[in-house]
């Protein structure tokens, strides 16, 4: 019969290997940073930049695999019911070391009794990605907030940076003309956005569908990314 390996398997095992290496790099850097701090060596600031790039690579790989799978069948989603408060705690924990290295402070705002159903790993992938970008764009403040608005959960990330460029802005796009609104040729940011939209859209409840909005202003005067989950 056919002894050619399935491309998905090749992709998956290549990603597995690559992610293992990235993981080693990431953790080794973490150790180096810690030693640097102990010995009062200022070089560690630069190492955070490495960590930022490693995380970017990591997200790209996850995205690649998810999108490839989505292309072949449907976008897989694994819903469960979560404490939004704890979810944001986890998200902050992931991003905090990197952001604080540049003096960026993270604020959060979330009612403790807020629970919602969503795909934990997909949504945290989206938020991690936005927060990782804040490392580059925020001046010194990021705010993560969650609130229930009507039939939707809103997860919002604001910063006090220069804001999103005109071409990336999406104001209340409830329709799904994704590919037209995003120019994939503008680079990886576009792909991240495309992925976020797919993730949002894959969350459905009754006849409602998730979506994202990207505007400027907000309470910190910079970029405002919001994902709406029904």
């Amino acid at each position: 019969m056919n002894d050619k390996m399935d491309f998905l398997d090749i992709l998956a095992s290549t990603l597995h290997d690559t992610k293992n290496s990235l993981g080693m790099l990431f953790n080794t850097l973490e150790e180096i940073i810690e030693q640097c701090k102990e010995q009062d060596c200022s070089l560690y600031q630069g190492f955070y930049m490495f960590q930022y790039e490693i995380k970017r690579l990591n997200y790209s790989l996850i995205r690649l695999l998810s999108l490839y799978k989505a292309e072949r069948s449907q976008f897989m989603i694994n819903m469960d019911y979560y404490s939004v408060y704890e979810f944001i705690e986890d998200t902050v924990l992931q991003a905090e070391p990197l952001l604080s290295s540049k003096g960026i402070k993270i604020e959060t705002e979330c009612p403790e009794e807020l629970f919602w159903a969503f795909d934990h790993s997909l949504i945290s992938g989206v938020l991690d990605n936005v927060l990782n970008n804040a490392f580059r764009y925020a001046k010194d403040k990021v705010k993560i907030s969650a609130v229930k608005e009507g039939e939707y959960l809103l997860l919002k990330i604001e910063d006090n940076g220069p804001g999103y460029p005109e071409s990336m802005r999406i104001i209340d796009k409830k329709d799904s003309s994704y590919k037209r609104t995003v120019d994939i040729n503008t680079g990886s940011t576009g792909l991240g956005l495309y992925f976020s939209m797919l993730v949002a859209k894959s969350h459905t409840k009754k006849d409602r569908e998730g979506y994202i909005s990207i505007v400027n202003g907000g309470s910190l005067g910079g970029g405002v990314f919001t994902i709406y989950i029904p």
Partner: protein, 551 residues
């Protein structure tokens, strides 16, 4: 009430949780990563850290030392994977609810969560992770265990009412572990046999979102209560939402079988196996259905796969080999079957039960080759072995044994086995049609029908006599009567249920007694194991629980 926290280092480890004294096992095939994790653990002042580089080593270490925390990578190279380590350790009782098992993975967890059936780890950790993330996971897991401890204890004591009361109290009083509590509550309601209440509960959860576990739970209650149309609908809906949810496939296949669509059931299982081929139990189920459907090519593939995977799995069994051998007999290559049986003999060298199954199948293969003398010799060996074993053999083995007797001309022994089999399962339509299929294969369908109906009539008459005693209010006599019947036919669900019923009626009239309660529970447990959807079970359980509370 919105609570704003500023500049959070995000979590305040409660001072009660002390990681220092915890014993940890790190299972990871990648040397560098093992080192990294070890360094992280050391920085939390954990001193007792053991390592395993592969799944086999992990199971061995778990067997002789009790660890508080197990950090196990999913991908462990050629042997057992992380899920198999978890399954085996849980099944063998090396770990229980007091241990924390965290699965470490390099990729998104969705596929894994969907692939894991009964045995789920406490949490997942996705590589790469920081020290802080690891510490938070460990603390969260420890706190969760602490929070749910009393529920697990109550479940262990079969005190379901109390377990549910604690669930409700915790859901009401705080927000910690709410999802786990909801899941647990649904499972306990189902375990308790309150299917109606469980269904209502799951519907309620589903109003908060389309959670696959709640849909699956609801589907299961529909299945158990015999509402197969509704169950099928639900399982299909889950798959439409996520075509990787293999648990839904397994239940859908079961539902098709119950609805009398074995071909459909086979198709569903074949789809599930394409998604998740590394599941030995599913391979066996598919093999059995394909065998019944006389699709011997699929059956051969599945049993071969089951034998292959069995090398690393705790779930290997002699029936994987004997089933494969039977497929070869059906495909007219009995000598291949003998080869497989020879392998089986080496694999299960010290098990008389396996020896029995192997010998029976050997006799079927020899018969096919027209080696009558060898066939009878193998069967004699099987009979000899069966005398040394307790009398409840799996019904598929009994059926093979009967078939071999008929084939080798020993009709009386064959008939005796069938009679007993029928009388132990006289309401089990699936088994009865299996028996009929054997008679058809033997070309004695008419005679077979007669044997079956005679055996059935005997047991029905016996049961009616007991029921008459109950109706006449002669309860002590009815208890005596059914207890004797149950001693002869310990796996007959109707007799067990009626024995329990007589005991319960007696206690309703004369008050609860510990000894009688224990007996009733024993019979009810048997019924639940044989057929959780048994028509009177829910009602009997309810009265039993009331009596138990009074006692």
């Amino acid at each position: 009430m919105a609570i704003t926290k500023k500049n959070i280092p995000s979590f305040q480890p409660p001072s009660i949780i002390n990681l220092k004294k915890k014993k940890v096992l790190v299972v990871e095939d990648f040397f560098n990563f093992r080192l990294t994790i070890r360094r992280m653990l050391r920085s939390f002042n954990i001193n007792e850290i053991d390592e395993a580089a592969d799944g086999e080593d992990a199971v061995k270490k778990l067997s002789y030392k009790k660890y508080d925390i197990i950090l196990c990578d999913y991908n462990l190279g050629a042997g057992k994977d992380g899920q198999q380590v978890l399954e085996e350790a849980k099944y063998r009782g090396y770990i229980d609810y007091s241990n924390i098992f965290i699965m470490v993975t390099a990729l998104n967890t969705t596929d894994m969560v969907m692939g894991a059936l009964e045995y789920q780890p406490d949490d997942y950790l996705i590589k790469p992770f920081t020290k802080m993330t690891l510490e938070k996971k460990l603390r969260d897991s420890i706190r969760k265990k602490e929070n749910l401890k009393n529920i697990e204890r109550a479940i262990e004591k079969n005190d379901y009412a109390n377990a549910i009361a604690i669930c409700d109290e915790l859901i009401r009083s705080n927000t910690r572990n709410r999802t786990e509590l909801l899941k647990l509550k649904g499972e306990i309601l189902t375990k308790k046999g309150d299917y109606t209440e469980a269904a209502v509960f799951y519907e309620e959860v589903l109003s908060m979102g389309n959670l696959p576990w709640a849909m699956l739970g609801l589907g299961k209650t529909k299945f158990i209560t015999g509402d197969y149309d509704a169950a099928k609908d639900i399982f299909e809906k889950i798959i439409a939402k996520n075509d990787k949810n293999v648990a839904a496939y397994d239940w859908l296949a079961l539902t098709h079988e119950k609805m009398g669509n074995p071909k459909e059931a086979q198709k569903v299982l074949q789809d599930a196996i394409l998604i998740s081929p590394k599941a030995i139990l599913r391979q066996k189920t598919l093999g059995n259905i394909a065998y019944k459907n006389k699709d011997f090519i699929t059956a051969e593939q599945s049993f071969k796969e089951a034998v292959r995977q069995g090398k690393h799995s705790f779930f290997k069994s002699p029936s994987d080999y004997t089933s494969l051998a039977k497929v070869f007999v059906e495909r007219n290559v009995p000598e291949e079957g003998l080869k497989v049986l020879n392998d089986a003999g080496k694999e299960f060298i010290n098990s008389p039960e396996a020896g029995l199954q192997i010998s029976v199948t050997e006799s079927l293969a020899y018969k096919k080759m027209n080696r009558e003398k060898d066939a009878r010799k193998a069967l004699a060996k099987a009979t000899q072995l069966s005398a040394t074993l307790p009398d409840t053999l799996p019904s598929s083995v009994e059926l093979d044994l009967a078939k071999a007797f008929f084939l080798t001309g020993n009709e009386e022994s064959g008939k005796a086995i069938i009679r007993r089999l029928i009388q132990s399962n006289h309401e089990d339509q699936e088994l009865i049609s299996d028996v009929q299929a054997v008679f058809k294969d033997l070309n004695i369908a008419d005679k077979g029908r007669e044997i079956i109906s005679m055996a059935r009539n005997e047991i029905i008459k016996l049961n009616n006599e007991g029921v008459r005693l109950v109706r006449e209010g002669n309860l002590s006599k009815a208890i005596e009567f059914f207890e004797q019947a149950v001693a002869n036919l310990p796996t007959n669900k109707v007799i067990n249920a009626n024995a329990a019923h007589a005991l319960i009626l007696y206690m309703q009239k004369n008050g609860s007694e510990t000894l009688l309660l224990e007996k009733a529970m024993k019979y009810l447990d048997r019924v639940k194991n044989i057929d959780p959807a048994y028509k009177d079970l829910e009602n009997l359980m309810k009265i039993y629980n009331e009596l138990n509370r009074e006692a």
